[in-house]
Symmetry: C2
Subunit: 221 residues, 2 copies
């Protein structure tokens, strides 16, 4: 990932996750508004893998890209690995390239309902304005991309990331922040971000605010 | 539970839970500061029971008070049933009695490290200034108390309560609110309560804010 000067909020995402998509859109709007975010990768397939329940035994980065689709959650294994490796390659062209590619791929998948396959990745690279020859060359250096992605997973375990999006503030405070709506409006994004920071830095040491399952009907519409 | 005029926030608690204790202390401080809370009961043993994972099959209120201690979480079955029934009996003496008894029992268990047994319950009743003869008579009408407690569990399932403390605002918005610290200071309590309401009524439709497992060392001390 790009090394940024000054304090940055780390944002762990997985391309599979619609909440991570909203989280990336929020951060994209806030970039330049006095907030610096650094895109990082946390694999939900790895984090939720049954073999990792007690100790860490299974790594996404050890899996082949042509693995057969697994059952249930494991059917996301290969698409997510493919997306992570491509985003790691895109990030080699700088911070703006990483954001442009990440947004394009999230939007293609969650807004455009495209599969996380090679065609969608190629289209996102083009839309992001990447140097395509360089992107393809970086993608071919798969061992280096896997090593970077593995280091990301190690770092996320150290922090205790369990879902996406997780924002890690410059002071180290970290939480999963799941919200239902999407905004691209600067003032709204700032308001939502301030809610998060208020809770994280709160005096009571808030550990969890989680809605009960059944929201009142009037607010669900 | 006492019927209150005007809009009240329902507060679901289980005497087993140290977070519910902090939640009750918070609400106790806020009572009279323009906030009305109604004490309600949610059983963690019932809510987390393996037989209730898919459909509801197991009710705490169907269990005898002399059931042998179960394994693991089930060792809390009888103490929690005993505490719930006693609190339901105490509430028959009015809202202030319910609060005084509930606070006394939570403090005895979580601050005083007393077991939730008959002696602790009797001491809490005395400390709360209950009419002890009436309390004992109400406790003997166990079938009525169980029916009330069963209705509480039905109501909590309807809302989707999954943990304690869960606050249900007058407009129906509901969330689990877990915080690490305890306050009995009115201004502080109001500030913490406002954080909760801000999140619940927020524009982004916040579903979850949950800290990552490993908080930075500087903040853990």
């Amino acid at each position: 990932m790009t090394d940024l000067s000054g304090p940055a909020t780390d944002l762990f995402v997985d391309f599979l996750c619609p909440y991570a998509w909203r989280g990336v859109e929020l951060a994209a709007v806030l970039r330049g508004q006095d907030e610096t975010f650094r895109l990082r990768h946390f694999s939900l397939v790895e984090g939720n893998h049954a073999e990792n329940a007690k100790t860490h035994n299974w790594s996404l980065t050890d899996q082949p890209l042509d693995a057969p689709d697994g059952d249930g959650y494991m059917k996301y294994q290969t698409p997510s690995l493919r997306a992570f490796l491509a985003a790691t390659a895109a990030a080699k062209q700088g911070d703006d390239a990483a954001w442009a590619f990440t947004l394009a791929l999230f939007r293609a998948h969650h807004e455009g309902k495209k599969a996380l396959d090679d065609d969608t990745i190629a289209a996102a690279a083009e839309e992001a304005g990447l140097d395509l020859a360089r992107f393809e060359a970086d993608c071919r250096d798969e061992a280096a991309l896997r090593a970077e992605l593995k280091a990301e997973q190690d770092a996320s375990r150290e922090i205790g990331v369990f879902g996406t999006p997780t924002y890690v503030l410059p002071d180290g405070e970290a939480a999963y922040y799941r919200f239902e709506n999407l905004t691209r409006d600067p003032a709204t994004a700032l308001e939502w971000w301030n809610i998060y920071k208020t809770v994280l830095r709160s005096d009571p040491g808030v550990a969890t605010i989680k809605r009960a399952k059944n929201r009142p009907a009037a607010r669900m519409s």
